[in-house]
Subunit: 372 residues, 2 copies
């Protein structure tokens, strides 16, 4: 009897531990597995917004999955350099990444449409096109050859034109201007006689202080304040013609995604949608606050003169035309992008733009019984 009893106890113990090791089954054996993923990013670890939103995403996925999918987020350079994020996800070294599509324009010229186009869609229009205008499907098609699935990963809203050592009073002031500016906008600046420089955000402060740069764009008040760029130049130019609604991206290794059970796949996808929206809400709140701080620090807000805006527009049109003519996928994407933008431009001129105009001048503080 004794031996058998021991045998029974052992048998029970084994089964019990099998049960308690099951940390999150939802539908059949396949889903009883737990997963640990790595997410590499193009941002400094926990950089405001750009770096914190991917961490929030990872936290949400862990909560929703009851711990069955844990994602460790790496800052730029912690696992791979910022601009090797795409390759790390392609190879599977990391299952996931967060960055911006236009960083990969060397591999995929058309990718620029999935971040931002000078004088193109703003954030609200970009999300309309991504989710309900065919944008996401074209994005997936563009990344498919690399075994990568893209998802929208946030938006900064309209950015700022950037920080300038000298005022821009005419087109002539672009001659020889050394300015850090990414994507198609770099070609536009070059077309106007400037010298576009590609440089990661982390190097901008010293390059502006040393005079290696005459001007730099970065993002907007929230992120520019974090880098202290107001200490490097007196003039802050609005509006970000070059990035009217820069979209970020989550990229996922296709094989890794397909190994997830369907409930975890849904959790990942819906979590990207929440993160995409949450970043724009965060920037909308923080940019407002940061602009006030910058003004208190004496930053001089400037706008480009009309002739400069018009030159930037015609040059932007030409640079997009060149891109579209040079690449079949770019042409296919632009065909969709341009149709959506043509309609949304007309609609938003009648609604969002007209509303901002009509609202101006109303002083809500007057409705407040207690002035604070």
């Amino acid at each position: 009897m004794k031996k058998i009893t021991i045998g029974l106890v052992v048998a029970l113990a084994t089964l019990l531990s099998a049960c308690s090791n099951d940390d999150g089954a939802s539908a059949g054996a396949a889903t009883q597995q737990s997963f640990k993923w790595k997410m590499v990013t193009t941002w400094p670890k926990n950089f405001p917004g750009l770096g914190t939103i991917p961490q929030d995403f990872a936290d949400n996925v862990e909560k929703m999955s009851g711990g069955r999918l844990k994602i460790k987020v790496y800052g730029a350079g912690e696992m791979v350099p910022a601009l090797q994020t795409f390759d790390a996800v392609k190879s599977g070294a990391a299952q996931m990444g967060h960055g911006a599509a236009y960083y990969w324009k060397g591999k995929i010229p058309a990718a620029q449409f999935f971040t931002t186009i000078p004088f193109g869609m703003n954030a609200q229009e970009t999300n309309g096109w991504f989710y309900h205008g065919g944008g996401n499907e074209l994005w997936q098609e563009a990344y498919e050859p690399f075994g990568i699935i893209p998802f929208p990963g946030g938006n900064t809203g309209v950015q700022m034109a950037g920080w300038f050592q000298k005022e821009i009073n005419s087109l002539a002031d672009f001659q020889g201007l050394k300015i850090r500016i990414p994507g198609l906008a770099g070609e536009v600046v070059a077309d106007l006689g400037g010298i576009p420089v590609q440089m990661p955000g982390g190097e901008l402060f010293s390059a502006m202080q040393s005079g290696a740069l005459d001007a730099t764009d970065w993002v907007g008040p929230y992120n520019d304040l974090a880098f202290g760029l107001y200490k490097t130049a007196p003039y802050y130019y609005v509006t970000g013609w070059q990035e009217p609604g820069a979209a970020l991206e989550f990229i996922i290794n296709k094989q890794a995604f397909e190994q997830l059970p369907s409930d975890l796949q849904a959790i990942v996808e819906i979590a990207t949608e929440a993160a995409n929206a949450n970043m724009l809400a965060l920037y909308t709140a923080k940019n407002n606050e940061a602009l006030q701080s910058l003004k208190e620090k004496g930053v001089k807000i400037r706008k480009f003169p009309k002739d400069v805006i018009e030159a930037l527009k015609s040059s932007s049109l030409q640079s997009v035309k060149n891109l579209v003519a040079s690449d079949k996928m770019a042409e296919k994407i632009f065909n969709s992008y341009q149709k959506f933008l043509a309609q949304s431009s007309e609609y938003h001129a009648l609604t969002e733009q007209d509303y901002y105009h009509n609202r101006s001048g109303i002083d809500w503080a007057k409705a407040q019984p207690v002035q604070e």
Copy 2:
């Protein structure tokens, strides 16, 4: 031996069935339960956008939870009439609802701040305030006495001012105007000599055709086209001063929410964030398309004259002032709302509004090699 072996087999079988019955454990026994919820809504079943987004939400929750939380969505009148949605969730007859906070202004005057305020925040600003400006916390505080937890549940973007039988050429044309218009905007119209009417969307078509109404607001091109309102009046007035960014809401019975394990609570909350963003993206895409259809049908787009806009603004300011003076919670919420709006108005005038202005006139079709 035989008896003991049988005893062993029974013991094993019991344990095995305990394992296989575990249809979704993630952290302890509490989470092994499945849940069936009812969601009542203030919209016709599957009405474009307003009705389809809650269904998408329910589908996403079921997918993410591996079927552990199933939510059945009811259209207005299927379980309770539209305007009993709040009470049905309060009583627990339904665990969840979808509608708009300003429908409950009789119970909670301050609730209007969580839908829209005439000449107040647009959609992007509203989401900034909700998620990162303290709005959601105030919303939860306002609903707490009713045992209901609110979550943002979508946004239509800037609406249209509505459909008018006659042109509005001056303030005098508001005298005796019978117009369907909800919320604070109704008080504004009354202040200008009009006759505001409260009426559910489903009744608008016949009321306009019978002449019971001289004018009506509803939402925007996407939803107005669905109701065929273009057949009832020739003039379509932009811009929706009365609803510059109408927010919808998910409301959840607090006890029902607290009975969910933490992973399902996270799934529900993140799914509301995705649904909230998805509705604005949907309206951004569909309003563009619908506006084109309406123009093809010969709809005459009109704008109010400047003096009408100014009168609407000062009257809106006064009606908000009255609300704030009459209700302590309204005053507390307005204090937060007004501070956020003051900053975002200034910021968006420099960015979003200035960008729309700078972008105007660019003809992207010129960048397209193949004209279609």
